[in-house]
Symmetry: C2
Subunit: 362 residues, 2 copies
């Protein structure tokens, strides 16, 4: 099953013609999950090979405009381009408390009637996710009005003991959020596939006397079978070790993580997407604004033993050498700085419309 990440916006602070505001899509089984939705994301979709109408889940890392001002417009356009007969399924939206009210207000004021249902599930941040004097409590904003189109979203609190937020879990996947430190509360998301059953060990099947045919399939799918001779065979008797699923970690703006959960959740990730707004020489300024440098990002990645690190959310002043004008800096310097920390490991700098495939494990 293919799984790929496509960047729709890789610039920080505001969208520019060369780098859109934050947005990326995780595509799996034909579904698109959107992470952040800065202004202009709908136009970036049109320029890409992806279709906004395929979006079934949206995750907003934090409430800075360059990460969510594109959301009302995107939903309106998806609705305009859909047909009422098609019965588009519910769109789940996850983001910090306050998002639901913003969305509802924007749709109400713009007289927008979405042709599909949506639910906003709000993450309740903790006060240590930003400087004390920056913390604003928007929890009074939620659910003050009942929306016709908005289904009932959930309020998600930090799981006691876990230090993470469980967003969704099904047979194949689990998605959790964890806390980041930024100017305003920010979140990271981990999408992790559950392990698949290992291969059937044909030698063992023979040893147990399992006849080739449908029983192989049953065992592979996890069912216990009873042979004609009365012997009971469990899947674990004949299956190789389970094959791990893929793990993708997408972090919002941050100058670090909060609590112990982040490192554990990101441990061994196949792909970690981390911001690097400013280069290492600007670390003080970066921290002051709640941002990271390549060194900060790659130290976290190193600590988590991630297999691939992708940096994004670059200040608009960093440009490829060929596009640099007055006052611009070479974006390739950010790659060098990150790779310095990670030794031989290659680091990728995100660009708008870049797609990264995450292959299945075997």
């Amino acid at each position: 099953m293919s799984m790929a990440v496509t960047f729709l916006g890789t610039g920080s602070a505001y969208p520019s013609p060369s780098r859109g505001a934050s947005a990326l899509v995780l595509r799996r089984e034909g579904e698109c999950w959107l992470f952040d939705c800065g202004e202009g994301t709908q136009t970036q979709f049109m320029k890409s090979h992806l279709r906004a109408g395929r979006v079934t889940k949206i995750f907003i890392t934090h409430l800075h405009g360059d990460h969510f001002f594109g959301l009302p417009g995107l939903l309106c356009t998806i609705s305009l381009q859909s047909s009422p007969e098609l019965k588009k399924p519910l769109v789940d939206i996850y983001g910090p408390v306050g998002l639901q009210n913003f969305l509802q207000r924007s749709l109400e004021l713009s007289h927008s009637q979405l042709l599909f249902p949506y639910a906003v599930h709000e993450l309740v941040p903790t006060q240590d996710q930003c400087p004390v004097d920056e913390f604003k409590d928007f929890s009074h904003l939620g659910g003050e009005e009942v929306s016709v189109q908005g289904a009932q979203g959930r309020r998600l609190h930090l799981e006691p003991g876990e230090e993470s937020y469980l967003l969704l879990e099904d047979e194949q996947l689990v998605v959790k959020a964890f806390r980041l430190f930024h100017r305003v509360p920010s979140f990271g998301f981990v999408v992790e596939e559950k392990p698949r059953a290992g291969k059937l060990n044909v030698e063992k099947l023979k040893d147990f006397g399992v006849p080739p045919g449908p029983l192989y399939g049953k065992l592979k799918n996890g069912s216990t079978v009873v042979l004609d001779n009365g012997v009971t065979i469990s899947p674990s008797d004949v299956l190789e070790t389970p094959i791990p699923g893929r793990k993708i970690c997408i972090l919002g703006d941050c100058s670090g993580v909060v609590g112990e959960a982040a490192a554990a959740l990101c441990w061994g990730a196949d792909l970690l997407i981390h911001e690097a707004t400013l280069d290492d020489s600007q670390e003080e300024k970066a921290r002051e604004h709640g941002h990271s440098t390549p060194k900060m990002a790659s130290e976290f990645a190193k600590g988590c033993r991630v297999k691939k690190l992708v940096l994004t959310h670059f200040s608009q002043r960093y440009k490829p050498a060929a596009q640099r004008g007055e006052g611009d800096e070479d974006v390739a310097e950010l790659k060098r700085q990150a790779e310095l920390v990670l030794g031989g490991q290659e680091v990728t700098l995100a660009e708008d419309f870049m797609t990264i495939e995450i292959p299945m494990k075997k």
Copy 2:
């Protein structure tokens, strides 16, 4: 004094890579006045020769997302790119009731602190500006909270007897709004320069015995002068007829106007910018959605004896012949339909980044 209109977005319903969402700039004396601010307007500014930081006034025609969803992001980016020492003057924002609350909420939720003051002046629509069942009263939304950055805006009601809204007036200009009929209350704006003093009639100056020199300037500037021989000369004694100012009319989405004021205000306009969302063959559908066709737009322009008609806000399906794909239609057909009504008069179809100069009269 140069005066020019630049289109930043000429598409209807949503922004696309070929036509941005509604936005246009009227430039005069180095100031930019922005009319409508659909999503992506800030990026369109960056692609144009104009600078968003020059915007001093913003006019929003109506509260559909493709006309105002770009406003919070634009203001945030202007603020980010300005310096606190520069003391950017107040930005006046005019638009329908509800706009102030939206803006305030968006800025508050996104933790945005604008580095310049702004005031939202809200136009109170009348119920006959849209279908009865579509009318929503947002008047309770205004002023419920006091914004730190937002200066006190005014509530503008229809001027009794005038059937228009007086937005601003100074020595050089007057700006009024008038009512349009759409799915939601929509407005048109008229920017009109006041007449300039006519030329000095040198023959008459000689006849009156005015000696060449500073007295000429005084008379030209409207001051009465007394000659050495005790004779009093009024400017009107020696000036030709005043030179009319320029008149620019910018209409929001509409399938028609409400009341008598619109035609009178637009009479003889040098430039009238009117929407033509669908072509003449779709008139029924256009009217159902509160929109106009080229015929409807040009009939209004003809009735007002406007000197130049520019059509904009085209459904994204209309494309130049060279760019047409499956399901697209030729945008040039809209020009033909409008010119059919206006006889020999040429009609211009707006395109993103097109600039139209409006020369001073002599």
